[in-house]
Symmetry: D2
Subunit: 115 residues, 4 copies
């Protein structure tokens, strides 16, 4: 079994053991996902951009925890609909390639509507 499938199985077991599926409606998981994403933002909010490349040890550990949290909720939400995270990410990247053609998007942070 690959690592992602292994994690999905462990995550499912974790929630089943605690009888937490009753709280885990997709709506609620979406909320929890955004809350965890904001905890990542909190790490960076008063930093200058330069600083953010070079975190102190405790900030790095905090970030690792929060990245883990976001990933777990993301996977949990995807699992509710049998969505394959890697597949939808691959598709979205392919879509972005068309939306942001290299010759127009190179070096620009403009949104595609403005390109």
């Amino acid at each position: 079994m690959n690592r992602l499938d292994d994690l999905k199985e462990k995550l499912q077991e974790f929630n089943r053991e605690r009888d937490w599926d009753q709280f885990h409606s997709p709506k609620n998981i979406a909320m929890a996902l955004s809350v965890e994403a904001s905890e990542i933002v909190e790490i960076f909010q008063w930093m200058q951009e330069e600083q953010s490349y070079d975190l102190e040890r405790d900030e790095k550990e905090k970030l690792e925890e929060e990245l883990g949290d976001v990933f777990l909720y993301l996977q949990l939400l995807a699992s509710k609909y049998d969505i394959d995270l890697l597949e939808v990410a691959r598709k979205k990247l392919a879509k972005n390639k068309k939306k942001y053609p290299v010759n127009k998007a190179k070096g620009s942070s403009k949104k595609y509507a403005e390109l």
Copy 2:
């Protein structure tokens, strides 16, 4: 090469071709990640919990796109520090197992501090 490594490589190439690393400070990616997470919340905000289990086709497609976006930014942020997403998620799940022991957490949505 496994699917995750393949995606990481394609993502890196996508940004390199567009010369977008200059915009992708960890601080900025954290912001983009939370913005995409909120676009998932937006799908569910006026739904009842029950409804959220059973999305209409266009809602499901929208969700797949946003899950893809969140995953891409999450991976992009992790890559900035050579963090292995699956490894930090696995560690976080192990930590949660200790924080929320089955005998105390079963059937309860209380935060661990209140258990």
Copy 3:
């Protein structure tokens, strides 16, 4: 002096005394604002909708604090551009009246594009 102007003045004094304007770029305040908004979401994330109408005392106190935080950052951000919060809210409400005419929007949670 009315209460809002009084609060704006006290907020400005608070930050000036601590020499915090250096951290308070609009970009950073926007991040802090969204982090505080997520702390409100956190209060409600595992509740059923019905429950959310009737908070326990400690939840209510937590909510009051977070509402205060969001308001303070919102005002701080508006002040950076001399934007009058009540005026832009009034304008937005007037705009929404046109976007969501009563005869079409009544009893519907659809986004205006779908109306």
Copy 4:
């Protein structure tokens, strides 16, 4: 009647006319509030801090709209519990004065726990 009370009344009337209270559980409003706060973040996500002080005209207009949206949802949420926004903001500011005494907090962006 002062401007805030006038706005609260108009907001209430707006929702009553559209029969939207049924969708406006505090839980749902909290979600909508955080979604709107993220739309403010979106304006700034690829900007450098310096740029964020000096928005272009269309960015400024977008910001005004989103500030209006956040304020309206913030007021709507507060109204659900008869919470006075200005009062809780005033209280939070007073609390922050104690948490961040000038002699310790001056010129520092550290969280109070680290002071």
